[in-house]
């Protein structure tokens, strides 16, 4: 027969485990979130003629000679995009993304693919880093996650965690170690909106 104190220990331990489970919510949620629907991305379409804006890149412009200490022209990140595909801020790459189930406080893995807009070839060796933030004063607990590449041009991230409900921004950084001093630098970013229930 179990002693009273042992039963109490079991009860309290079970309660603690349940509390941890609820608080950390590592399971699925009833209504998962995901990409935010909205107007398709057209920032790389010439508003006058409707032709596509396509900017080539060159690895030679990653670390230009004499670039050390120089200042690049100021540029913002561009607006976060709706949906699951679009072009980077400089119209160098076309990208698509998907994610595992999006729930608050659950590890979410992103799959990101990028192709060169010039010729449609996979963007390889970009070392994609993925940044998550709800707003400028609320980054994710782990503000960025790294990724591994495979097959070429496809990047799978480590799990990121959204620690609050709301409309988050997921920003993918490509070739982040390259300077952006020259116009054809491979350096680039693209952001998407994600709803977290």
């Amino acid at each position: 027969m179990l002693s009273r104190s042992f039963l109490a220990l079991i009860l309290v331990t079970s309660g603690a485990a349940a509390a941890i489970s609820v608080a950390c919510s590592n399971g699925t949620c009833t209504t998962p979130g995901g990409p935010v629907s909205g107007s398709p991305d057209t920032h790389c379409v010439d508003p006058d003629g409707g032709t596509a804006i396509v900017n080539p890149t060159s690895q030679a412009s990653c670390h230009p000679d004499g670039g050390a200490g120089a200042d690049a022209a100021p540029s913002d990140y561009g607006p976060a995009l709706y949906g699951v595909e679009g072009d980077d801020d400089d119209c160098k790459y076309h990208v698509k993304w998907s994610a595992t189930t999006v729930c608050e406080n659950q590890g979410v893995v992103f799959t990101f693919t990028a192709t060169n807009k010039v010729d449609g070839t996979p963007v390889t060796g970009a070392g994609v880093e993925t940044e998550l933030f709800l707003n400028p004063t609320h980054p994710a607990p782990t503000p960025f996650v790294t990724s591994t590449e495979g097959p070429p041009g496809t990047y799978t991230t480590q799990p990121g965690r959204f620690d609050a409900p709301g409309q988050w921004t997921v920003r993918f950084h490509l070739f982040e170690q390259c300077s952006d001093l020259l116009g054809d630098s491979p350096h680039g970013h693209v952001s998407f909106l994600v709803d977290v229930p």
């Binding site: 309660g15 941890i20 120089a70 100021p74 913002d76 990140y77 400028p136 004063t137 980054p139 982040e176």
Partner: protein, 136 residues
């Protein structure tokens, strides 16, 4: 009673997001004179050296002689990557701590490289400083 204490500890350990108060060293990462010569600023970072992630800084602002701490100032801190032409996605939060100390939190460094904290100081004095550092 004892068992309840163990449960609370377990819950805390299970869900902590690891936001311990910053610990600054005793040696500043930068000692700067304001561009206008009105202030002296010692800057400390946690961690030191600065790493990728969520970093924190303490600015200790004194008069130009480095003698009298200056309170009641407004510090506008903008992280900047000169070679990229952009800053960071998040906005630093500045909290006055008294005795000339200003805590700067929410500086999120995603990528390695050369950074600046472009800082405008206003209030009883007007000045600016640029804190430069590299992140591996």
């Amino acid at each position: 009673m004892k068992l309840r204490g163990v449960s609370a500890l377990s819950i805390a350990l299970g869900c902590t997001s690891g936001s311990a108060p910053p610990t600054f060293g005793t040696t500043p990462m930068a000692q700067l004179t304001g561009d206008a010569g009105a202030v002296h600023v010692d800057v400390y970072s946690a961690p030191d050296p600065v790493t990728r992630g969520n970093d924190e800084f303490r600015f200790v602002v004194t008069d130009a002689a480095g003698a009298a701490p200056l309170d009641g100032l407004t510090l506008d801190v903008v992280p900047w990557m000169p070679a990229m032409g952009h800053g960071t996605s998040t906005t630093p939060i500045v909290t006055a701590e008294g005795q000339g100390k200003y805590l700067v939190t929410n500086v999120v460094i995603v990528m390695g490289g050369d950074y600046q904290l472009r800082t405008k100081i206003s209030g009883a004095v007007t000045d600016s400083v640029t804190v430069s550092f590299s992140v591996l």
